[in-house]
């Protein structure tokens, strides 16, 4: 169980939060193609290394925030987009 730093609640067990997954851009539903939409739905980079992902502080302040996490080491650092 890793420790995830919530901007409001501080470092917390990851079981207090929910990993909402890698940050992906949502295509405009009005103009997107089905192929583009499905890659948004199902395709992720899933690198062995740094990934920008969203976490949800579900047992705490209810904030969605993004961090960068190294999937090989679980090292965590602030995300520019948080």
């Amino acid at each position: 169980m890793i420790v995830v730093p919530c901007p409001n609640c501080g470092p917390r067990n990851s079981s207090d939060l929910r990993n909402a997954g890698e940050v992906v851009a949502r295509p405009d539903p009005a103009t997107t193609s089905l192929t583009e939409w499905r890659s948004y739905l199902y395709l992720r980079e899933n690198p062995a290394g740094w990934v920008t992902e969203t976490w949800y502080c579900r047992s705490g302040c209810r904030r969605y925030f993004t961090i960068e996490r190294n999937t090989s080491t679980n090292e965590i650092r602030e995300s520019e987009s948080s």
Binding site: P7, R18, D28, P29, A30, T32, L34, Y40, N74
Partner: protein
Amino acid sequence: MSSQRLPTRAGELIDRSTSLSFTWNGRSFSGHEGDTIASALAAAGVEVFSRGMKYHRRRGILTADHWDPNLSVQVGDEPNVRAGSRRLVDGMQVSAQNAWPSLRWDLGTANQLVGRFLSAGFYYKTFMRPQFLWHNLYQRILRKFAPGGRVHWKTGTHGDYDKRYAHPDVLVAGGGPAGMAAALSAAEAGASVMLVEQEPELGGHLRWGGPDDLTVLADLREALYSTPGIEVLCDSIVTGRYDHNWVAVMQRSHPVVPERLIKARVGSLVVAPGLVERPYVFAGNDIPGVMLAGAVRRLINLWAVKPGSRAVVLSANAEGDAAVADLESAGVAVIAVLDARAGEDIVQVRGRGRVASVQTGDGRTLKADLLVTATGWSAPTSLLNMAGDRPVYDKVAARYFPQSLPDNVLATGGIEGDGSTAELAAHGRETGALAAQRALRLRHERRTQTARSVRPESTPPASVPDNRIPLRRSPHPECYRSTTHGLVDYSEDISSKDLIQAAGEGFDSIELMKRYTTVTMGPGQGKLETVNAAAVLAEVRALDLADIGTTVWRPPFSPVSLGALAGRIFEPVRRSALQDWHEANGATNLLAGQWVRPDHYGDPMAEATNVRENVGLIDVTPLGKLDLRGPDVANLLNLVYVNRWQKLEVGRVRYGAMVTEDGVVSDDGVTGRLADDHYLMTTTSSGAGAVWEMLEDWLQTYRPDWEVHVTPVTGGLTSINVAGPRSRDLLERLVEDVDLSADAFPYFSVRTGTVSGVQDCIIWRIGFTGELSYEIHVPSGYSLHVWESLVSSGSDLGVAPFGIEAQRILRLEKGHYIVGQDTDGLSKAPTAGLGGLVKLDKADTIGLPELRAAFERTDLPVLVGLQPDDPTIVPEEACQIVAAGSNEILGRVTSSRMSPTLERSICLAQVDPSLASAGTSVTVKLVDGRRITATVQEHHAHVDPEGARQRV
């Protein structure tokens, strides 16, 4: 059998003033407080404790500690108890495992005669075919020979297990001299410390040492218990280290519960497990009477047990030399000491059930009943491996050492190097101080990361470099195998010959060899075996041991009982404010998610009929309720629902369905507009939490520019549905300031008013049951009053409560689908019949592209009303709908009930589109295999498809 108990020893753990009785295989024995099961039996002269797994040869004490592979016993109905460390308790019923029919007469010894079937890879070779033999022969017979104890099928629990969360700055794994010193200095530096020791008392190898060792131990123990900030947990094992120093401790010393799993978030982990003595591989090395030096030292010094009469000692180190001295002091005749440092060796041991003679490397045969080996150490590096380290073999010291550790994991003691007691303690002290320093920095960092009204002013503790003086590495001969073959893995009965054969068959990497032969896969998980196995492989491949590598050490470090992992369940239960009333009035409850709620009050069919004829009350508080406020609520609703929301007027409610981004129906409910910027959304009971999280997600991450506040009010508002043709009559008696007439308060409207004197109740007119009905959302503190008023005011109208079961009947009669029951994880909007609701020309809706794609498809299943042709048969929910002449699946029944209104069975079903038109006859396969026919209906609704009853 004669007593082997020695006169009093200086460091003995036993209390001779006590006498504990216990049985071993049905015979009565006694021992003392402080004895292990094994020491008490050995003191009484017992020499055979178990049988080998495959060849069923007799086994005696080998290591006399927690890792002894020969000392797994059954205690009462607890299997696999480690008799080498488990302390004796009065009244214990102990029996041997792995022996059938008895320890003395064991049929399995016949396996020795058919040894070729049991050699390397025998599982794979022998039991592959013929396959029919698996069930009939292999499985039944093998089970009799299978190692391990038994759990009786009537076994109860062994009491409540427990869990605990801890946050020590420093956790020290191992309570020997280095670990104790580390705990002390860490506490002195201001850290909170947890010291975990697997034996029931602190001290490690000091316990069986000489007078000087005992003095140091007494001093360290005294200091530990008098220094504040140290929690000492003995008889407890650190079983795993995970990311960010999440450490699992299995505590067996708890005064109340049998075991407690401690989940510790640790600042710094200090790994100080000492060393594990390694057995030597030679012919006969599993005959009782072959013991490690540590075993005889423990037996003599801790439990005052004489391990034999005539001993031969093979010594490669100081532990072996000390064992010689201990043996002599215990009155054991040491007839020969072979010095492995000088190249002396033993070749084999002979004896049946006990060592009788020892053959030495120089050709002598010595009569002896005890052979003691001191051939080296294995470093129990598991926790270091779990922290990412790959320990490296040092040829000179003949053992593995840590290579590189993360900053929050530090090693000390024997695992780091050699030294005198004072040197080990000094290294421990330095390590503890460093660990504390790093942990305190982390603590400060975490505190300042947390938002607070007042920021802590203190500056972080200074960063300290690692200036520890390393422990030296004393030279040690590489003693792994003699010139003969013997057991490498005592738990799995695997010999060096088996490993060589496996390598010959191509399984010549350590990981492959492990899986093929099962070496190191027994209960000890390789503590004693891994290095010897690697050494044999190195020998076959003519490589250096350093080039062989070892298998990966994974958690747990030591076996963990399932009870401890399960622990106690802390699942909260939710109750509406009316639940006490329900229970006082005959409700039979059901658990729906976290909610306890009435299933029925005795007769659900009658409850349903009462709703159709009179008026019923149901507590629907678990319905998810979200209070939405702000100028952009309509935009949010338009995004999350498939239909349109911009034009909902104040005072109106609307049904909405939600899909996820992949177009699958995810939730539905009714949302009403209470004021310009104020809405109340309802969700399914099971979806309340998920919808709330989903709304927050879209608002926070996608449209942070929208001004909407979402407040969950599920428990704050008690929801009461008043349903039935006389519901208006009932409410008119209690509602003060709302005109309830059909014209003033039409279907799908919402009003806020006073009910039975309670202000601000939200009343909306909707109908899940298909009858005229009102849903009242009452501030929960007043809801019992409102409920009781409804009950007492309506007795002449036939008012009666109804439960979930009646509601399910009523809604099925009405054909309302339930998300998650009549739909599933693949159901798109067309399946649920949402064609009329979905608006595909909106600019944005969750899942919009998938909705568009779904409505172009013609192959999606269709939800239909279905009636069995035999009206008395109610097909069970999830029964398959199959093709008439085969078992080809064409759908399934999603809901089914007997309808009290129609007095016939009714269903909803998902069917293949080819079967979806009204009047189609389909075949339903019942659970018992019978096939019945049923007819697809024109509507989902079986009762009142036009909706006349709810629009009055």
